[in-house]
């Protein structure tokens, strides 16, 4: 794992359908400035910048970090751009942490973002290549059959997805940055919304958001001078597997299991449900909560929906999932993974505000992407590893 790495600053923008008040550079600077302020640093203090986002077609700018370099204070510094599909926000944080762990830099600014109002994300995700025909519309079209397969093999009742949608949206009411805030959200309200991709109803999907999330990562030495309590990286992991081949379990992918096992090993965790205090997990469609509960080893196979149904993942449950409201409440795609990672850090720093899990000391940040084939995870803690 190399040298110790601390998260000393976190910054987020307000997530909205359209941030017409800011340009792309303005959006990134809003998050980056807040992270620098949190860390008590200025642009000059930063050694390197690592930027992540999902496909460039979302904004219509090829490799946009080249034009964002000035706004990110990257002149004269190393600037990298990560792209690993939906998991990219998490991967970007891991690449940035790697620079600290490798002893290359002392203070790294990392920013992940998407300004989806510049285009239409559903259609950007539906592009046909000349050689294959797209059989689905958008990510929901791709994932709905996997959800149906899960429901069948786990014997899950139909209403579980609704419970997740209500829980995450309720959590979002306590997060000042969240995009979707629906006062009085209830099962009836979710069930009354149109069916988009069986069994996914309108209120069981993530929104399309503009937004950016930033963190300042620091070496142990640099963290000593941070004005507030840092979070410490206890483990990081990435795994990838091909999207399609005979015998692949696309409901509970091996890559997710392997990444979880790897990150738990690094953090010395054998029972994630009891040893972690909360988790920010990439759940863009409500049913992915029970599916990832199983994939990440929080319970046995086919048991995930029972945890959700029993309220174990609610704010007052034994293992709160997505106290921030999660991807279901804010989804600037390229940033969504980093928001999970950053929210995990906020929890163990005790800085999650109204959605703070009392006494959280260790938390999981998780992201996935592509056809549930790219995974990025980290575990952060309030104590040094």
């Amino acid at each position: 794992m190399g040298d110790r790495c601390a998260i000393i600053g976190v910054g987020q923008t307000a997530y909205r359908t359209r941030r017409l008040d800011v340009s792309m550079p303005g959006l990134l600077r809003e998050a980056a400035r807040r992270a620098l302020d949190d860390a008590g640093l200025t642009w000059k203090d930063i050694d390197a910048v690592v930027v992540g986002k999902a496909p460039d077609l979302f904004e219509g700018v090829m490799m946009p970090e080249t034009f964002l370099a000035d706004a990110l204070g990257a002149a004269g510094k190393p600037l990298m751009r990560v792209h690993t599909a939906g998991s990219v926000g998490g991967s970007t944080a891991i690449v940035a942490a790697g620079l600290i762990q490798g002893g290359v830099h002392d203070r790294v600014l990392t920013v992940a973002w998407e300004k989806q109002s510049e285009s239409n994300a559903t259609w950007a995700l539906t592009v046909n290549s000349p050689f294959t025909t797209s059989l689905v519309v958008g990510a929901g079209g791709y994932f709905a059959p996997h959800i149906r397969a899960y429901m069948r093999r786990a014997g899950a009742p139909d209403h579980i997805g609704t419970l997740v949608a209500v829980k995450d949206r309720r959590n979002a009411l306590r997060n000042e940055y969240a995009h979707l805030k629906i006062p009085g959200i209830s099962r009836e309200m979710v069930e009354s919304t149109p069916m988009l991709w069986e069994p996914i109803r309108y209120l069981e999907t993530c929104p399309s958001s503009d937004g950016a999330c930033a963190m300042v990562l620091a070496s142990e030495d640099a963290a000593k001078r941070a004005p507030s309590r840092p979070a410490w990286v206890h483990g990081t992991s990435m795994r990838s597997e091909p999207m399609m081949f005979a015998g692949r379990d696309s409901v509970s992918p091996q890559g997710g299991k392997d990444a979880a096992a790897d990150v738990y090993r690094q953090a010395g965790i054998t029972d994630p449900r009891s040893e972690l205090d909360c988790a920010e997990v990439y759940v863009p469609f409500s049913w992915y909560e029970p599916m990832w509960l199983e994939n990440l080893g929080f319970c046995g196979e086919n048991e995930g929906w029972k945890l959700t149904e029993a309220g174990a993942t609610a704010m007052d449950g034994d293992i709160p999932w997505n106290p921030s409201g999660g991807v279901l409440s804010s989804n600037p795609i390229g940033a969504s993974g980093m928001i999970r990672f950053a929210e995990a850090a906020l929890q163990v720093r005790g800085q999650a505000g109204d959605h703070q899990v009392d006494g959280a000391r260790r938390a999981l940040g998780h992201a996935y992407g592509g056809g549930a084939q790219f995974f990025a995870m980290w575990i952060v803690g309030s104590d040094k590893p």
Partner: protein, 354 residues
């Protein structure tokens, strides 16, 4: 003391100047197979690639590449939307952690599928620069003019760079074999003539990195990375001195001073236009005794997203084959040499510096 890390293998396609009917993954798969056979490695501690969606004209162009590398059981993997030289940098950082001993790096690009110079316009600031419609060759021509005015370099000097690069390229089985620059070729965008502009190229390349004793097991003469660094400049051409490559100078200093770049015998520079080679030589302080681009450089084959990695691969290959003991690979990204990476390689081990 940092870990010792080396380039232990390099493979590339026989690059093509026109669409040969292969999908990216079909272009890439033989290169991956070759480098696996050459090293005897089927699995790597880490894998990292560089590619660009805008070249493929579709999102997630890197996803299908997982089929070419055989990512099963699942692999530890990442991707940069940059030239694969930066993927090599990410892999080098990962190896410094000490958890793994090998890494596979690859990059691929098929520029023949679209109009590259207008695609690259989409890389410019969308508010202030791209709407002007300026393309990559026009921007490079502005840079060339400014450089020539400052340095006194003439068009014949640019032609000499192109002629030497093409002559070297004709001796490289992987490069395009381009003719001697013609005496009366019309301008592409003045002062640049067609031979001053890197050719449209399809191709792929891969490198295997290894640490310490693992590197010695895998390669008779490992090319040790004694220094590597990358730096960027502001984007807007109006706010920087286009006649100098400050980012290359900085990266060269950081990669080179600690590593003793003074003794470099061969430099592979990612110059996509003739004048860029001259700017880069100056930024790196390379004397006339340094052999520049014996492979023919990007002016003889420029597969986008792989060409920078190929510079490091070619520089390493000169150590592998015993023809040099200290070499330098350079990669560039963005308009007018906006971002630059410098990697110093040596036959002698030494802790890696960044």
């Amino acid at each position: 003391m940092r870990r010792e890390i080396a380039v232990v293998a390099f493979a590339q396609t026989r690059h093509s100047g026109a669409d040969e009917g292969l999908a990216e993954i079909e272009m890439l798969a033989p290169v991956i197979t070759e480098i696996k056979e050459r090293t005897g490695l089927a699995r790597f501690g880490f894998t990292c690639s560089g590619s660009c969606d805008y070249l493929a004209g579709a999102p997630f162009s890197f996803v299908s590449a997982l089929d070419a590398i055989g990512a099963w059981p699942p692999i530890s993997e990442s991707h940069v939307e940059m030239d694969a030289a930066w993927a090599l940098y990410e892999a080098w950082v990962k190896l410094l952690h000490g958890d793994i001993d090998t890494a596979l790096v690859y990059g691929f690009g098929k520029s023949s599928q679209g109009n590259l110079r207008s695609i690259l316009t989409q890389q410019l600031d969308p508010y202030h620069l791209a709407p002007l419609g300026i393309d990559s060759v026009s921007l490079a021509a502005l840079q060339a003019r400014a450089y020539m005015e400052r340095s006194g370099v003439k068009e014949d000097d640019l032609r000499a760079v192109a002629a030497r690069s093409r002559a070297s390229g004709r001796g490289n089985p992987f490069a395009l074999h381009l003719p001697e620059p013609g005496a009366d070729e019309e301008y592409d965008v003045a002062p640049l003539r067609p031979y001053d502009v890197a050719p449209i190229t399809d191709g792929a390349a891969a490198i295997v990195l290894a640490a310490g004793d693992r590197a010695r097991e895998l390669c008779e003469r490992p090319a040790w990375i004694t220094g590597i660094d990358h730096r960027g400049e502001p984007h807007a051409p109006g706010v920087r001195d286009l006649t100098r490559s400050e980012a290359t100078r900085l990266a060269g200093e950081r990669a080179g001073e600690k590593a003793g770049a003074a003794g470099v015998e061969v430099a592979e520079l990612h110059a996509q236009f003739s004048h860029e080679e001259l700017i880069l030589r100056e930024a790196l302080g390379l004397g006339d005794d340094v052999r520049v681009n014996p492979s023919g450089g990007a002016l003889s084959a420029n597969p986008m997203m792989a060409a920078g990695l190929i510079r490091i691969g070619e520089a390493a290959a000169r150590i592998h084959d015993g023809s040099a003991s200290r070499t330098l690979g350079h990669a560039s990204s963005g308009p007018c040499l906006q971002q630059n990476l410098v990697c110093v390689l040596s036959e002698e081990t030494g802790a890696s510096h960044g």
